[in-house]
């Protein structure tokens, strides 16, 4: 058996669902890498997690209304980002709570919508596909919408990169320099909401944060330069998605038949972080002081 025969199960390269999964997953991983670097620097992992979970409410509602899940995920995370901004995510003190309350409420809504999905429309499997994603079931008709949203989100972050970095590192200094910190925060939250909605669509609403935070945090351990960190994060994200898709495809031949793609992706992301992120708390604290 050749090397490629051992790595890839038969039919991998000619399979339509695999192509779609690779295309969508790859694009989303790149956006998440770019946007995620700031999520980690700004300490907004919880906000990202909340926005992603909240996408579950939107995703399940979209099944109920028979619209494309992209718009459901997107509408829910944008609405939640606005709500979090209104009740005070910008102040570090109440941020944790404001995020938590919005998250709890939205999960309640998700519970309701999923219940209605299963009773009114008698669809089975909505819960699983909304929450944990099903990359091989993604329709290739989603590609135009996902790509254009990706361009919007990543483009916005690249556009405001310099003032955003300053206001993330030192808000007071940024304000003195005439940067509109609050406005930047809102713009970033919007970009984050779009990125998270895309991640939720591909690897699942409650797993979306992995792609957002994991590669970015790992990249920031490898390099402190923001531009390079964004590239590294995007690369790591794509790597996790590609390996994940390959393993999941192969797993149809393993016991259990067809392990979820999302499981492989989040596990790889976590492994990357453990391998590159862990050695030496001392080194990172030195960098923390020296960098910036």
């Amino acid at each position: 058996m050749t090397v490629s025969g051992a790595l890839f199960a038969p039919g991998f390269f000619s399979s339509g669902p695999v192509h779609t999964a690779l295309a969508l997953g790859g694009v989303v991983a790149i956006v998440c890498g770019i946007v995620g670097v700031f999520t980690v620097i700004r300490g907004q992992a919880f906000a990202g997690e909340a926005l992603s979970d909240i996408g579950a409410a939107g995703g399940s509602a979209s099944f109920l209304a028979s619209v494309s899940p992209v718009w459901g995920f997107l509408a829910a995370s944008l609405a939640a980002a606005a709500a979090m901004e209104m009740i005070g995510v910008q102040r570090a003190r109440g941020r944790d709570l404001a995020t938590g309350i919005v998250l709890g409420t939205s999960l309640g809504l998700a519970a309701l919508f999923l219940y209605l999905d299963s009773t009114l429309r008698s669809t089975t499997g909505t819960t699983v596909s909304v929450l944990f994603g099903s990359m091989f079931a993604l329709s290739s008709s989603l590609i135009p919408a996902v790509v254009s949203l990706s361009v919007v989100s990543a483009g916005l972050v690249c556009l405001i990169q310099r003032p955003l970095m300053l206001s993330s590192m030192n808000p007071d200094l940024a304000a003195v320099r005439g940067v509109r910190v609050r406005l930047l925060g809102i713009a970033y939250l919007a970009a984050l909401a779009v990125a998270v909605a895309l991640a939720a669509l591909t690897i699942g609403a409650i797993l979306g944060t992995a792609l957002l935070v994991g590669p970015a945090a790992t990249a920031l351990r490898i390099t402190r330069r923001p531009g390079l960190a964004m590239l590294t994060a995007a690369g790591l994200g794509v790597l996790a998605v590609v390996i994940g898709v390959v393993l999941a495809y192969d797993s149809f031949l393993w016991p259990g038949h067809g392990w979820p793609v999302s499981f492989f992706v989040v596990t790889l992301v976590f492994l990357f972080y453990l391998v590159f992120g862990l050695p030496g708390s001392r080194r990172s604290s030195q960098r923390e002081q020296g960098g910036g």
Partner: protein
Amino acid sequence: MADVFASFMVNAWVVATIVAVVAGVVGFFTVLRGNAFAAHAIPNGAFAGAAWAALVGVNPLIGLGLFSAGSAATIGWLSRRGRRDVATALMLTFMLGLGSLFLEVRTGYGPLVYSLLFGEVLGISSNQVLPTIALAAACLLGVGLLYRPLLLSTVLPDAGRAGGISATLMDFLFLGLLALLTTMTVPVVGTLLIFSLTIGAPAAARAFTDRPSRAILLSVVVALATVWIAIAVAYWTNYPIGFFVGAISALTYIAGRLWTARGRRVPSPRW
């Protein structure tokens, strides 16, 4: 009307009441310590535990206990070596992914996923009552023993350290308490909505009083009201209880915010 209290509902009322009391108490410290994210993440670790127990065929409580303790320890350990929120987010998604794998391999898991995540309060059996009481007692005993050092280390970490209280140890012990709470709560309100109960009630209570003992008491009262109303309404409407727990928690939080804004002399911040 009275059939809400029918015999098959007794277990639900008893267990939900115990859960609300403990969640109110532990939640007060969660809010005070700013540990909302951990309170969200540990129950999701427990989800993997429940899924593992279903796969292997052992008592779900064992799976829940093992995995929530494991998640708590992982968060505590990883966050000493990097950003806590990043470590928490990655641990959380990894555990959920693992849970989805266990359930996928077991096959036919749609309804089980739903009830684990969003709770199944109306289906509580009588053999779940005793373990819940035991775990609740352990959890409250833990809070009682740790009350003063935990409060001091939370509010004034430096003073605590000067008095010989290790902040790291307190962190681990508190995460352990969260794990204990999780183990007893997951079968009742589900992993995703324990969180509403642990955050909503104490956050509201804190708006009305600054004194810890009163805030804890109030937080328990609010949590009890939330759960009781949620059970009754869920029973009558047949809609999932998690929705009502989430909605009522949000309402109480908003009430607390309004109360704070009303009592404030200085111009209140925009919200």
